[in-house]
């Protein structure tokens, strides 16, 4: 779109992502990791033949599972700890359990080094959970992953975390094995789970950026929808998260950019200055769900015009969480309904297409050389606005099925 143009005009032939990987770079004065889509051509899993790439419908269905999981966690006001009696009994130790949110599949991958000498691991990064983990040797129950398992014996700087250590005590729940090792368990909302020892070792973000003594989970029993990822990088707000542990070196913040298509690359950086053109809104804390980053969404514009939504609609819904792992933005029903109607008014010249899973406002651009859609702008407390890129407005399954990339949180009374 041209600057200040209320429409995105695009070539229909460019709707689908390329088959080859393209690169971009982060600012040079930060510790930056390349971010790629888990199932795109830039992913190391793609290079090794990622036969398990899900369909668009599957991605969206799993996205709904993640959202349901977030809602359950919020409803439970703090996410009560859950102990799996069968597992605890089997292993002879009462394992701590922390119910996290569902992983879904719309996740992005970064590559980090662990141990000394450092070996590289491709991990999902997630702003919706805190504990980082990788699969470790020896492993009782590990899924097939991209790289060889992390082997503590091969690292000169590896150490287990003792049960009495502060890091162990600060987990939401913790327990102790018979040899005084701190055991963790995270059960995600889709029943995926990881169990293992809480350990520490050197985390390498770049050749010149190392975090000695980084605390993470050394998973020895991991099952569920992890794909072939080597593990997970937790970027939530609690003390065990990477941003919290890296705060003494980089400050407590971080910045990422997600690429416009699955064939592009973005970055995740620590310690760099915020971009000069950034507009800020308040980061809100909810003490019942302290891992999540909340902000206040207050309005929406379509085609440059404000959609009529009472501002109380957003607040009454319980606020808005920003999440790197949820694919599709969820809006309170009244807000979504108003957005959908406004968007559809601009799209009358295009043929409607069948709904795609949770996306109910879809169009068929077959036969068009170029097309246009209205811009969509999100407004946050304090006057901050996000004028979404084209890729943030339409979810393109194919030329004959491109959908408004928003959904409703669902019936509040359900």
């Amino acid at each position: 779109a041209r600057s200040n143009d209320p429409n995105h005009v695009f070539s229909v032939s460019s709707l689908l992502p390329g088959a080859a990987c393209t690169a971009s770079k982060a600012s040079s004065n930060s510790s930056a990791l390349s971010v790629v889509h888990r199932h795109g051509p830039c992913s190391p899993m793609h290079a090794s033949g990622d036969a398990g790439a899900p369909s668009h419908a599957e991605i969206l269905e799993r996205d709904q599972a993640r959202v349901n999981s977030i809602h359950r966690k919020v409803s439970a006001a703090g996410g009560a700890s859950v102990i799996d009696p069968a597992r605890a009994s089997k292993q002879g130790v009462s394992l701590p359990a922390q119910r996290g949110i569902s992983l879904g599949t719309g996740n992005y991958i970064v590559s980090v080094g662990l141990g000394t000498p450092a070996k590289q691991y491709a991990v999902v990064f997630d702003t919706g959970s805190d504990l980082s983990w990788v699969q470790c040797k020896p492993c009782g129950d590990c899924y097939e992953q991209q790289d060889p398992l992390f082997d503590p014996v091969q690292s000169l700087t590896y150490a287990t975390v003792a049960c009495g250590a502060q890091e162990c005590q600060e987990l939401d729940a913790q327990s102790c094995s018979s040899d005084n090792k701190c055991r963790y368990e995270v059960v995600y909302g889709d029943q995926s789970q990881t169990d293992g020892n809480l350990v520490r070792d050197t985390l390498t973000l770049s050749p010149s950026d190392k975090l000695p003594g980084f605390v993470f989970g050394c998973g020895d029993s991991n099952t569920g929808l992890f794909g072939h990822a080597d593990g997970l990088l937790g970027l939530g707000r609690e003390k065990v998260s990477l941003p919290s542990q890296g705060a003494p070196s980089y400050g407590p913040g971080f910045t990422y950019c997600l690429p416009s298509s699955s064939s592009g690359t973005g970055y995740l950086s620590f310690g760099g200055a915020a971009p000069a053109n950034a507009q800020f809104t308040a980061m809100v804390t909810n003490r019942d769900t302290p891992s999540f980053y909340y902000l206040n969404l207050v309005g929406i514009k379509v085609g440059g015009r404000a959609v009529k939504i009472p501002t109380t609609v957003f607040a009454a819904a319980g606020g808005t969480v920003i999440d790197s792992g949820t694919v599709i933005t969820r809006l309170p029903p009244r807000a979504y309904s108003a957005l959908r109607s406004a968007f559809a008014r601009y799209m009358g010249q295009y043929k409607r297409a069948p709904k795609l899973s949770i996306l109910d406002t879809c169009y068929d651009f077959t036969g068009h050389k170029t097309a246009q859609i209205p811009t969509v702008e999100l407004a946050f407390a304090g006057g901050t606005t996000m004028n979404l890129e084209f890729s943030g407005v339409l979810y393109v399954a194919n030329v004959s099925q491109a959908c408004l990339a928003f959904a409703s949180t669902g019936d509040d009374t359900s």
């Binding site: 702003t127 910045t255 950019c257 949820t326 933005t329 809006l331 309170p332 901050t384 943030g392």
Partner: protein, 31 residues
């Protein structure tokens, strides 16, 4: 609750300024 998902975040530099308790969005952040 509402959720701001990753599709809408694409191409923005999303800055988590924890020290100042604010979140920033910079357009065309990947380039």
């Amino acid at each position: 609750i509402g959720i701001l998902g990753n599709t809408q975040q694409k191409t923005f530099a999303v800055a988590y300024d924890v020290a100042n308790q604010r979140i920033g969005f910079g357009a065309k952040g990947c380039s």
